[in-house]
Assembly symmetry: C2
């Protein structure tokens, strides 16, 4: 596995791979790799000639009150995990490489970025969309792999790649979960043991709603009420619980088609999100 720090070197290599028509799979990450990331890397490995993992803690996507400085950066561990999962190139640039002096261009999405995480975290998706566009240009993927756990982010990345004609497909792969159902996330490490036990309730609430849909329930309000009640049994404070169209993320009150069940909640200082997709037949 090669570690590349320079944007120019990454770009030159990506160009050569493109000319040779190599299939390039890219997995964008902020490091702190867990089983969720590794499943993306393994999928990329199985479908491409070359696997590039990008590792960059992107200052643009952290809000003023958020934890950019304290975000963990266990580089040696990430490098070992990426390598073991089949990465060929670990692209880990510095801030100055991606955002040189005078840098001032941003990529911004409309409706998809406004609700849910966009409403809670001002500027967050603008930061994500900007860095992902640059990383895709530098690495020139045939295919990029993102996790369903950050479903809104995944849709945004898919949309911008299409809208800006970046020439790749974005694959959204299933959320990897702990045995009790908690979605893998680097934030889980911040939970106290009690909070960790309670955290699984998010998935429990989502799963119960899915069962009720399968049982015939079609009222968004009733399902949301059920999720809120279940999560309300813990110390978690709900940011939102919603049922939305899986493509547009607009709320759906009478369920039909493909929907996403979304939840975001805080346990102490840790903010968790999770979701499930359901085909309402």
């Amino acid at each position: 596995m090669t570690v590349i720090r320079s944007a120019r070197r990454m770009e030159a290599l990506a160009k050569r791979l493109e000319r040779r028509k190599r299939r390039v799979g890219v997995v964008p990450t902020m490091g702190c790799l867990h089983e969720g990331h590794l499943s993306l890397i393994r999928a990329a490995r199985s479908q491409n000639d070359v696997v590039i993992v990008t590792l960059f803690v992107n200052p643009l996507q952290f809000g003023p009150g958020e934890d950019f400085a304290r975000y963990p950066r266990p580089f040696a561990r990430d490098r070992a995990l990426a390598k073991a999962a089949g990465t060929d190139i670990l692209f880990a640039p510095t801030q100055r490489e991606l955002y040189p002096r005078g840098f001032q261009t941003a990529v911004d999405l409309g409706a998809l970025a406004r609700r849910w995480e966009g409403a809670s975290r001002a500027g967050h998706f603008r930061g994500v969309a900007t860095v992902v566009t640059i990383l895709f240009r530098l690495t020139r993927p045939t295919m990029a792999y993102v996790g369903q756990k950050d479903y809104q982010q995944a849709l945004i990345i898919q949309r911008l790649a299409r809208d800006l004609r970046l020439g790749l497909s974005v694959r959204i792969l299933p959320t990897v979960r702990e045995p009790d159902g908690l979605a893998m996330s680097s934030r889980n490490a911040s939970l106290t043991p009690t909070q960790r036990l309670q955290a699984a309730t998010l998935f429990l609430a989502l799963g119960e709603a899915r069962e009720r849909i399968r049982g015939g329930e079609r009222s968004g309000a009733a399902l949301i009420e059920g999720m809120r009640r279940r999560i309300g049994e813990t110390e978690a404070r709900i940011d939102y619980a919603a049922i939305v169209d899986a493509a547009t993320l607009e709320p759906v009150w009478r369920l039909r088609g493909r929907v996403a069940l979304l939840v975001a909640a805080r346990l102490g200082r840790t903010r968790l999100i999770d979701n499930l997709l359901v085909d309402v037949s």
Copy 2:
């Protein structure tokens, strides 16, 4: 010369040209071609294997009060002029080709886009930056050619191509002028004969300021005052007259380095802009 309407076809052809390492020169236009555009096309012709002219009246860059619907679209004339100047491919997509259903991504610049034209025309540069990014992705230029007449726009296009790693250089070529100095612009056609005579005063004012700089004047305020006085002798209403750093477009009060002299003024309903670059030694 081939006329291409389909984004997909343009993209496929651009990919093939890229693989064959052809030098591709692109001139983005909104049609209504005049000698200014033709000089860009000829420059592209002399420096590239393939010349692509894009022709698209971009709704995103028109403000609510502006003239998108009434913007002239003399296609047959544009096609003939583009061909005669050496164009290989005229890419003239419809709106739906560039902005398909669900499209919602925008490209936005910071400081460069805020002042001058950005202050007068809300959302204008966002529209320009977005369409240019998409056009560059669809045509994959080695080099793009833009006119110095829209100097702020030219710097913005140069900046976004660099920031988003679009892989091309942007050449800014000199403004082409009428015999009396008026900068070529499709808007000149809207001037009444009296306004047309007065319009040359913009260039006169800029030229006088340049002479005073060459003569040793270093006070931005004095130079701006002179430009305002000269233009004030006509019926033109000044939007702004400014002396700015030629790279950042920030005002310069004590002249040094490379500066741009900028003016924007309205004659009747027609808004004209012009500029000169001066190296202050």
